[in-house]
């Protein structure tokens, strides 16, 4: 029971991170119908900006944790958002209206490009940083010494995710930009005719997705304390699985899918074998796509001639 509770906490933390990345996939898929394969790499870039920012802030003498974390979050979101914008502008915008697979191939190229760009400039070694937030609560302590812990960092991650989700939902539902996004999702040509700047809306979608992925990157950097240039691939596939599981195109679905994937992974590693935890994620992806391609909360897509 205690062990179960501990895995539940770990799984929720992991799921929050996957959910943040999954939103980027789901929004882009909703609006232009392509799998942004490079999104995992955007998350990796967010994590690298976080590492660099932590070191620079440390050198500058800002070591008070709340200020440091807030600054790192802002810096990482800003710089990563520029990457998101640039990727869209160069690799996807020229391919609007091209056959469906062309942007996917371009995205795979972009993913390889970004991975090697970071590897060349920052080196292939893993990047460790000292822990930023330490300590936590002990919820239950069993007689034999096994304690269920929730660290301050896990609370921070879950709270940040909840806050971002709330803000984001408000943005999509209540602002002109959100309205423009929903319009483009339904019919780009019609939205354009009615005065919505379609290109700008799509660009901003990528910017927002990249900023959320950057938050996930910062969280992972603090949570694990070590990153390398290759983390984007696996996290990207898992977050995409989360987006598909929740129903691609649906924002609450992405969050739900993220939590589900996080929990499945935590319980799988806790009760079965840690080596095969990635197989679990991939198998879910395959099974969901085969048996319920619309996901948990998605609408069925009608094939048109």
């Amino acid at each position: 029971m205690e062990y179960f509770l501990q895995q539940l906490i770990n799984g929720l933390t992991l799921g929050a991170i996957y959910g943040l990345i999954a939103i980027g996939y789901t929004m882009v898929y909703g609006i232009i119908g392509m799998i942004n394969f490079a999104h995992g790499e955007i998350y990796m870039i967010g994590a690298f900006v976080a590492v660099i920012a932590f070191i620079v802030l440390g050198l500058a003498g800002i070591t008070w944790a709340p200020a440091a974390i807030a600054l790192v979050l802002l810096l990482s979101m800003a710089f990563t958002a520029v990457y998101g914008w640039t990727v869209e502008r160069f690799a996807y915008r020229p391919l609007r209206g091209a056959p469906r697979l062309a942007p996917l191939i371009s995205a795979i190229g972009m993913s390889i490009l970004l991975q090697n760009y970071v590897q060349l400039l920052q080196g292939a070694r893993v990047k460790p940083i000292p822990p930023v937030v330490q300590g936590g609560f002990t919820i239950i302590e069993r007689a034999d010494g096994f304690a269920v812990n929730i660290s301050y960092l896990q609370i921070l991650i879950i709270l940040t995710t909840v806050a971002l989700m709330a803000g984001f939902t408000a943005l999509i539902n209540g602002t002109p930009l959100g309205r423009a996004q929903r319009a483009c999702e339904q019919d780009k040509k019609m939205a354009g005719l009615l005065g919505v700047d379609v290109d700008r809306t799509i660009s901003l979608t990528f910017v927002m997705g990249a900023a959320l992925a950057a938050v996930a990157g910062v969280m992972v950097t603090m949570y694990y304390g070590v990153i390398d240039f290759f983390i984007g691939f696996l996290a990207g596939v898992k977050a995409f699985t989360a987006a598909v599981l929740g129903g691609i195109g649906s924002l609450p679905g992405a969050m739900l899918g993220g939590l589900a994937i996080g929990l499945i992974e935590a319980f799988w590693s806790g009760y079965f074998s840690i080596e095969y935890k990635d197989v679990a994620a991939f198998s879910i992806l395959v099974l969901v796509l085969i048996f319920r391609p619309t996901g948990l909360l998605g609408r069925p897509e009608i094939e048109k001639v």
Partner: protein
């Protein structure tokens, strides 16, 4: 609004607007390069620390500013001036000192691209109507011409490939590179069946390559079977794997299909990595037997009991190169078999059904084509060739491990097919020479290899989404054959 009207209406205010656009590009470049180029994380005794490289950032931002300005001016019709300036800039960049060689390459490349854009614009302005469409048509005509040329060139290239081991310059390294290139050409041709003809994006092709390689390695390790017994088995097993994986996923739409194949590829790799008792896990399998001469003779100096040595059988001097040359011919025959098979099957009903499915799935279903069965055939045939290539890979390396079968390998094979032009057999050869051959030729630049590779994939997709030499010649024509079409094309060109 077109560039011409802009130019006529507001030629005075072009420069400030251009400067503004260039400045925005420079700010973006600053944001992109500042954390990654400007601040490099390095290990130090006290943990991670950063080293600054702000000089490179400044140069990069300046280059982006100049480059964007040049491109805007080309668009606004000052192509001649920009052409001159970019050529001058290229000369300056050639001579000027740069802090790192990559920056020089970027600067020269940028100047070259702008010069080409300016030259194209000049040509378009002289030639009247132009633009993307015209460029596409030009590239199409070029691809068609290349395809017609292969009719003559193909046999010559094959003859050259056959004669290669006996050329005076062919040492061990040349033949090794030849084997490498042919392996990728074979994989490219194998994948072309599913990607190019059936139009399904398979991101996990390397899984079948792995199945083939491990089939041979495991059969040889546990049962001591020879290469010649295992080669067909490896193909059959890979085809079975294709059937098993393909059956559930082939109903899926294009991009979902791609992601599921990626998932399968990774699952197979992770299982190979973790099934320690059976596959050796990350250590892989070593000591895989080398092939002998069709089971008749061995390529060793002192063959085992009851076997004949190859050099004794043919009365030659012993030379370790003999086995390499034999491997070279083996992969050459395998690759040509794939090519021959593909060219033939295209003309059969099943091959035509593949192409029809690629063009319009719904229309095909309406015409009574069983799309799952047809796709399954493409998937398993393609997998079979991958399995053959895998068995060859295992016997050539003598050692395999899951490291060789990562997603990147799938991406490389896919890039070969896509860059060459999906469905083009010549394209695969040309693309392999570019993707595999060029990095072999420039070994010292190998760290930039994957970077350039990713960039090439993006650029080619943006420039020509159907691939370099993509030219889909319909296998059947309704109104007349080749001559009628040529006449029509000539008439169009005159008009």
């Amino acid at each position: 609004m077109t560039a011409a009207t802009l130019n006529a209406g507001a030629s005075r205010s072009v420069l400030p607007a251009a400067l503004k656009e260039a400045a925005i590009a420079a700010v973006v470049a600053l944001a992109l390069t500042l954390p990654f180029v400007g601040l490099r994380t390095v290990d130090s005794p006290q943990g991670l620390t950063v080293v600054t490289r702000f000089g490179e950032v400044a140069i990069a931002v300046a280059l982006v500013f100049i480059g964007r300005l040049g491109l805007v001016l080309v668009r606004e019709g000052y192509a001649a001036a920009v052409l001159g300036a970019s050529i001058a800039a290229a000369v300056v960049f050639w001579l000027a000192p740069f802090p790192t060689p990559p920056l020089r390459v970027i600067a020269l490349g940028g100047a070259g691209v702008i010069a080409i854009r300016a030259a194209l614009k000049l040509r378009d302005m002289r030639g009247g109507a132009a633009g993307q469409q015209a460029r596409d048509n030009r590239a199409d005509r070029f691809a068609a011409k290349v395809q017609e040329l292969t009719r003559w060139l193909g046999p010559l290239v094959v003859l050259f490939a056959v004669a290669l081991p006996f050329m005076p310059f062919a040492g061990r390294s040349v033949i090794d590179i030849g084997i490498l290139l042919l392996t990728y050409i074979m994989l490219g041709w194998g994948l072309n069946i599913i990607v190019g003809y059936a139009g399904l994006l398979d991101l996990g092709y390397v899984a079948f390559y792995a199945v083939g390689a491990y089939s041979y390695a495991l059969l040889a390790q546990y049962f001591g079977w020879s290469f010649w017994a295992c080669l067909p088995l490896a193909g059959v097993l890979a085809a079975m794997a294709g059937l098993m994986l393909g059956f559930p996923v082939l109903r899926l739409r294009g991009d979902y299909f791609a992601i599921v194949t990626l998932g399968f590829g990774e699952i197979i790799r992770i299982v190979l990595l973790n099934w320690y008792d059976f596959t050796g896990g990350p250590n892989g399998i070593s000591g895989i037997p080398r092939p002998d001469f069709f089971g008749i003779a061995d390529f060793t100096r002192n063959p085992a009991e009851g076997k004949v040595a190859f050099h004794e059988m043919f009365g030659l001097e012993f030379d370790p190169l003999q086995r390499i040359i034999f491997l070279y011919y083996l992969i050459l025959v395998l690759a040509l078999a794939v090519n021959f098979f593909t060219l033939r099957i295209r003309k059969l009903p099943i091959g035509r059904a593949w192409e029809a499915l690629r063009e319009d799935e719904i229309a095909c279903t309406a015409l009574g084509i069983d799309r799952t069965r047809i796709k399954l055939a493409a998937f398993s045939i393609s997998a079979m060739w991958g399995g053959f290539a895998g068995a060859f890979f295992a016997t050539r390396q003598g050692f395999i491990s899951p490291e060789s079968f990562t997603f990147l390998e799938s991406a490389i094979i896919l890039a070969i097919v896509v860059l060459g032009g999906m469905g083009s057999q010549v394209g695969v050869v040309v693309a392999t020479l570019i993707v595999i051959g060029l990095p072999e030729a420039f070994r010292e630049l190998s760290e930039y290899r994957m970077l350039a590779f990713g960039m090439g994939m993006v650029l080619i997709m943006v420039w020509r989404p159907s691939g370099l030499l993509a030219h889909r010649e319909p296998t059947v024509l309704l109104h007349g054959g080749r001559d009628a079409r040529r006449k029509r094309a000539a008439a169009e060109a005159r008009a």
